[in-house]
């Protein structure tokens, strides 16, 4: 059966690690990476990519527009 799968790409250098996307995600896909970018922010990454449904909630609340969301039927 075809399944809706999503994926997000975070622009690591522009992410400020505010964490608003982490709480906005209904599937708990995102979390802080534990690493920092060149500006010293603990950026966000997908920690649970299998759960992503591409709902765009994370990107909608992102103040810095660093998230690109993909969605496909596979």
């Amino acid at each position: 059966m075809a399944e809706i799968k999503g994926a997000v790409v975070v622009d690591v250098e522009r992410c400020k690690g505010c964490g608003l996307c982490i709480v906005a995600c209904p599937k708990k896909v995102l979390d802080h990476s534990g690493d920092v970018n060149s500006r010293g922010y603990d950026y966000v990454k997908m920690v649970n990519p299998d759960a992503c449904i591409g709902c765009t909630s994370c990107a909608t609340v992102c103040p810095d527009s660093v998230i690109t969301v993909y969605r496909a039927k596979i």
């Binding site: 799968k5 999503g6 994926a7 790409v9 622009d11 250098e13 522009r14 400020k16 690690g17 505010c18 964490g19 608003l20 709480v23 906005a24 500006r39 922010y41 990519p49 299998d50 591409g54 765009t56 909630s57 990107a59 909608t60 609340v61 992102c62 103040p63 810095d64 527009s65 660093v66 998230i67 690109t68 969301v69 993909y70 969605r71 496909a72 596979i74």
Partner: protein, 269 residues
């Protein structure tokens, strides 16, 4: 999920959300989690969707959003502190075919610029006013603003805002909703995906009102200032929901057209 599967999904044709083409690539100077970023994004998305990039002129204020002209790729004018509605009046009257919007914070709009916004709205200038209310002066280090809640601690009210000394918090949006020149007055927020989408609809409606020459559209965006409030962005959203929304309830205050001038002639005849 394997890398192969991820690659399958991450194809350009599968993009469902990406940064608006109207937002520049430079990094915003706002603090992490600031509501200004979301509001900028929504304005950029609305202008892009309406296809009015070349016809739009923004008026940027003084305050945290003073550099708004660096982020949204439309024409801008920079106003003196609080005077964005006055400058927008001039721009709109000189170039009536352009879409003109102002972008102001609560220190700029509700304090030093209170006269300008009230009179621009009373004249029914055909402009869009976006008012970001975070109940504090963010740029200068978290001082009390007219919109600060009673009891709220700021740099200038370290024991909390006191009515006897500092006066009452000001609901300027309610004041503006009473003015005959306004056509659309609403209060929105940007803390959840649903709220962000509602605010985007409100901004779009405001720009369409301007196209139809209905009067002044005024959108308050109740916002957070996590640096000024000295809490993290997630707690700031919670604090806003628990406290600010009680005093500044969300929703439309007015949705019609500006008053008919004919109805005002009876008093002198």
């Amino acid at each position: 999920m394997t890398d192969q599967e991820l690659k399958e999904i991450m194809k350009p044709e599968n993009i469902v959300y990406k940064k608006s083409g109207l937002l520049r690539d430079n990094i915003m100077h706002y603090c992490p989690g600031c509501s200004h970023g979301v509001t900028h994004k929504l304005i950029a998305e609305v202008i892009e969707e309406l296809g009015i990039k070349e016809q739009t002129i923004g008026i940027s204020p003084v305050g945290c959003s003073v550099f708004a002209y660096n982020y949204i790729d439309v024409d801008w004018q920079e106003a003196a502190h609080g005077r964005a509605p006055a400058l927008a009046t001039a721009v709109k009257r000189l170039l009536p075919d352009k879409y003109v919007f102002t972008y102001q914070g609560d220190g700029d709009l509700a304090s030093i610029g209170a006269a300008e916004i009230l009179h621009a709205c009373n004249r029914g200038e055909n402009i869009v006013c976006i008012f970001v209310n975070n109940a504090i002066y963010g740029m200068t280090g978290g001082q009390m603003a007219p919109t600060t809640l009673v009891g709220m601690k700021t740099a200038t009210t370290p024991y909390g805002r006191n009515v006897d000394r500092n006066g009452y918090p000001m609901k300027i949006t309610e004041l503006i909703a009473q003015l005959p020149g306004t056509c659309y007055v609403t209060r929105q927020s940007v803390e959840t995906p649903a709220a962000v989408r509602k605010t985007k609809q409100a901004i779009k409606k405001a720009f369409l009102n301007q196209k139809e020459k209905k009067g002044t559209s005024f959108i308050e965006v109740v916002s957070t200032c996590n640096s000024g409030w000295k809490i993290d962005p997630i707690k700031a959203n919670k604090w806003m929901q628990d406290h600010l929304f009680k005093f500044y309830p969300l929703g439309d205050l007015k949705d019609s057209v500006k008053d008919d001038p004919e109805s005002y002639k009876q008093y002198i005849e």
